[in-house]
Amino acid sequence: MRRGVREFVTVALPLLAALALAPLVYSNELLLFNFIMFLILAQGLNAIYGFTGYLPFGYVGFFGAGAYGFALAVMHLDATPLPAMACAGVAALALGVVLTPLLRLSGAYFAIANLAAAQAVYQVISNPALQDITKGPYGVTLSSVFAPALSYGVALIILAATLILVAWLRNARFGLALQAIREDPVSAAMAGVAVVRGRTIAWLLSALIAGLAGGVFAWHISVFYPETAFDLSFSIFAIVFTLFGGAATQLGPILGVLLLYGLYNVIGITVPQYFQLIYGVLIVLLVLFLPDGLASLVTRRGFRVP
């Protein structure tokens, strides 16, 4: 456990400090916020994919559920931002509970079913028939709670909590049990690991993280459409960032976000097709030649990556 604290202090604290001070010297706060959001999403996905091996292709479903949980609480209950954030978490957790039976599926079946579930939630929320409740495809406006500085701070707190969670998972008994389940569920069960409970907890934790990310996203940008909140690229980006850096490490997803999302902002905004092309080639090369991510370059030589 002491190692977990050390990993958190050496990797996560400098990052958090840099992100907290960055708005003082860099004026594009939205960009910094997006970095934080993708750091949260990549680490949340890391908690389920890295430690249990389930690839949630529809991870964005939780993000969108969180965003709409926040928006609905503000619009219909006149909630202030912090209770609305709680609603965001609850919405994502509820979706996570509903989708828990999907964990019975393995491999590609789980990924596809999860993708379909996220699409289904999107289609329900954006359906014009529900315009009175969700505003359907026309998007929501939450200008009454708009508070960029405060929401930036809350996003940082969520990121810190997520990083603590990953540092804990890497070093605690529970995280080791999860990795044992990932490698071989039958042997893990025989060794006395509660397989179903372990998976379910990891699943709900990562759903909660994505929901909170979605809630704080809704709060920070305050005007959005269902196709923004349920954009499949959130899932894809989170997966690729995590994979690129190295799943089941704390540093890997951070490196993935900083390098790849940085690259996206340099070329992706102006010429999206060319970024898409580079991105596709990068993914193919990554899977073929470096399936365990950048971290494996170091771990292969016998060093431990925090």
Binding site: L105, G107, Y109, A111, P185, Q273, L288, P291
Partner: protein, 291 residues
């Protein structure tokens, strides 16, 4: 109205069988998920469109050209990507991510080459006037597309169950390791199956302007979801199941569009999840649960 919905559902079901068939063959033989399937369908649609717009080629003739060309295109892709992928630790999972990358490449290149505007081929090219079937009227283009789809399904069935390579292919489907141990050239068999799968996707693309509406470079994602729903309902890996899945999907889609059109786009997702949860092996399937 009910009779019309069911009949057109069956016609669309035949076409959706074709849409799922290639994806299913590749998954069945190699246990990899070709997430770029929908984008190959898109390329088939654009091939048919340009062959028609530039030299006025009839789609039925284009379909033969597309079949051959896409099969030839599939072979090098197989040898470049798949053997390396199958050697990896968790190839099923990694294949999803890898073919997502391929999908991005295809979509980006298609957007750069063709732009984002919608392209379509007029339905009258496949035959004029509506056709009367069992007291209902259906466009001729639908019937022709369904007939071609049925022909393709029959040919794939003959290939798998009446030819020597087909027997070897089914052996690889059942157990890759045992097939390897009994001296089957697994890579040749898989490469053939991959090429056929890609060619079938191209063929489905040729008829997509008549069945799914106009073609755009971004259509791949929706096609994918439909194809996944079809093969999961039927059961992954089994070509007979694909037919069943396609027909169920087609009829359900038409019933939804007739009676609850606002919610029709929810259908593939809900069917997929429901089938996976109630009977994760598909309607004609084998074991997929773990632990």
């Amino acid at each position: 109205m009910l009779a019309h919905a069911i009949l057109s559902g069956l016609v669309f079901g035949c076409y959706f069988t074709l849409v799922g068939l290639g994806l299913n063959l590749i998954f069945g033989v190699m246990r990899i998920v070709n997430l770029a399937h929908g984008d190959v369908v898109m390329l088939g649609a654009f091939a048919a469109f340009w062959l028609f717009a530039l030299i006025g080629l009839h789609p039925l003739i284009s379909s033969v050209i597309v079949l051959a060309a896409f099969a030839l295109l599939g072979l090098p892709v197989y040898y470049l990507v798949v053997p390396r992928l199958l050697a990896a630790r968790d190839s099923e999972m990694l294949s999803i991510i890898l073919f997502f990358g391929v999908q991005q490449i295809i979509e980006a290149l298609a957007t750069i080459a063709f732009g984002t505007s919608e392209r379509s081929i007029p339905g009258r090219v496949l035959g004029r006037g509506p056709l009367h079937v069992l007291g209902q009227t259906l466009p001729v283009a639908w019937i022709v597309s369904a007939a071609v789809s049925l022909l393709a399904v029959a040919l794939v069935y003959l290939y798998l169950y009446r030819s020597r390579v087909g027997t070897l292919t089914r052996a690889v489907m059942v157990s890759r390791d045992e097939a390897l141990a009994s001296g089957i050239d697994v890579h040749r068999v898989s490469a053939l199956a991959f090429a056929i799968g890609v060619a079938l996707a191209g063929l489905a693309g040729v008829f997509s302007p008549f069945m799914l509406g106009s073609a755009t470079p971004a259509m791949g994602g929706d096609v994918n979801l439909a194809a996944f729903a079809v093969i999961v309902i039927g059961s992954l890996g089994d070509p007979r199941g694909t037919m069943l899945g396609g027909l169920i999907y087609g009829v359900a889609l038409m019933l939804m569009q007739t009676y609850m059109s606002a919610w029709a786009n929810l259908l593939p997702n809900l069917l997929l999840i429901a089938v996976l949860l109630v009977r994760p092996t598909g309607l004609l399937g084998r074991q997929v649960r773990r632990a």
